[in-house]
Point group: C2
Chain length 234, copies 2
Amino acid sequence: MAEAPGSLVWSLPEPPGGQQPNLSRDRIVRAALKIADAEGAPAATMRRVATALGSSTPMSLYRYVGSKDGLVDLMLDAACGEVSTPAPSGDWRADLRALALANWDMMQRHQWFAELVHTRPPLGPNALRLTDYGLGALSFLDPATAMTYLGMVNSLTIGTALQLAEELKMRRRVGLPTDDDLRAAVKPIHDEIVATGRYPNYNRWAADGGRFHNAAGFPLMLDILLDGLAARMP
Amino acid sequence: MAEAPGSLVWSLPEPPGGQQPNLSRDRIVRAALKIADAEGAPAATMRRVATALGSSTPMSLYRYVGSKDGLVDLMLDAACGEVSTPAPSGDWRADLRALALANWDMMQRHQWFAELVHTRPPLGPNALRLTDYGLGALSFLDPATAMTYLGMVNSLTIGTALQLAEELKMRRRVGLPTDDDLRAAVKPIHDEIVATGRYPNYNRWAADGGRFHNAAGFPLMLDILLDGLAARMP
DNA sequence: TACAGTGAGTGTACGTTGTACACGCGTCGG
DNA sequence: CCGACGCGTGTACAACGTACACTCACTGTA
């Protein structure tokens, strides 16, 4: 899992198998995405991916992805590759909004993304393309400020996606229940908390249904943040 | 690592050792915090904590914390316990701002917090106290909206802390270099990216020093977000 | 004083993870 | 025809979380 600083996957080029290889970066990453999409990030182990590709041993993958971290890097960047960056419109707010919404959509398709993206800096070509696009929309600011503002938008997007991912994880832990099943599973914990009576505001929220805006409300949250940014623009 | 849904640490009370125990939840959590503070979250393994307490086997801890997840829960909540919640002032913005800044200070002391908090919902007594306080500041809103806004503030705080924690992790991977050493270590990667010339805005940022506002700039970012929230208040 | 009971900590063992290393098979260039 | 090299396999190891059975030492009761 450890890795020398200069040895990111992007440094070592894909070994472009001269003879007929059964494997390739693309096939490996695709298989890993499929597993992670279906069963969550921790299910995408080296062994699991290898067997999904017909290889009897995880070691086959190491020629192509270098390490587990390398595979994760490639997975993250592949997901970023699904986010398109249309031509800049000249309206920073519209461009940033579109970028965030596209990112959000991608994270809904790949619920593991938000969990994994924190493990290392986003230096893949697609991640860089997105960062570059975001910085370009804010290029009238000094670079450090532009990066700061872009980071705020990303924090909001990833943070909100994480809350949803956590709910999904809990759901997986319980089984695969419906919304009502889930509520029933979490109820004893909440009830115990409510019973103490020590958290009146939390209780009020729980009594209200324990809901917060997430999927549906993300555009609204994004607009609120953009309002705050707009007020600071020169 | 798996856990039945109803068996959070908070459910099973601390076994209040009738006879003289060498161990206790408090001592265990305190030792784990110390290790995590000094060497990062992954260093705080069960074995490591056990030996730090003089126990020859990790199994000693299981009576007190139930599982590794239980220990993490307790660590997170202990960290939350360091954040104080003064009497509400009646000014939602001042209260929320103070809460976020206190949270931020805590996350600077415990850089592992932001990494670990995503692994499970914050249901410890101290985390609930903080959530309750934040909801109280926004109690003039309907509960779901209040939770949404509070979540935005927390996303920003944790997300920003995560960026710093990631830099720290990279620093640890390289050794324990100074700021200049770090810049030198990351330079080859950045140079390779810059050399492609494909990311002009990113390059401009890198040429500018590759900086973004984090520790120093967090209050500013927080104010921007609060501006956006204020514009939506009834 | 004797004895059962309980509670604290130990030791051993298992399954799973990532991955290092050495080996066999195949195809190609000389 | 034959060595070299690309490609995948098999075996093995350390570290992780943790289940299970166990040994002490102390305590309350008879």
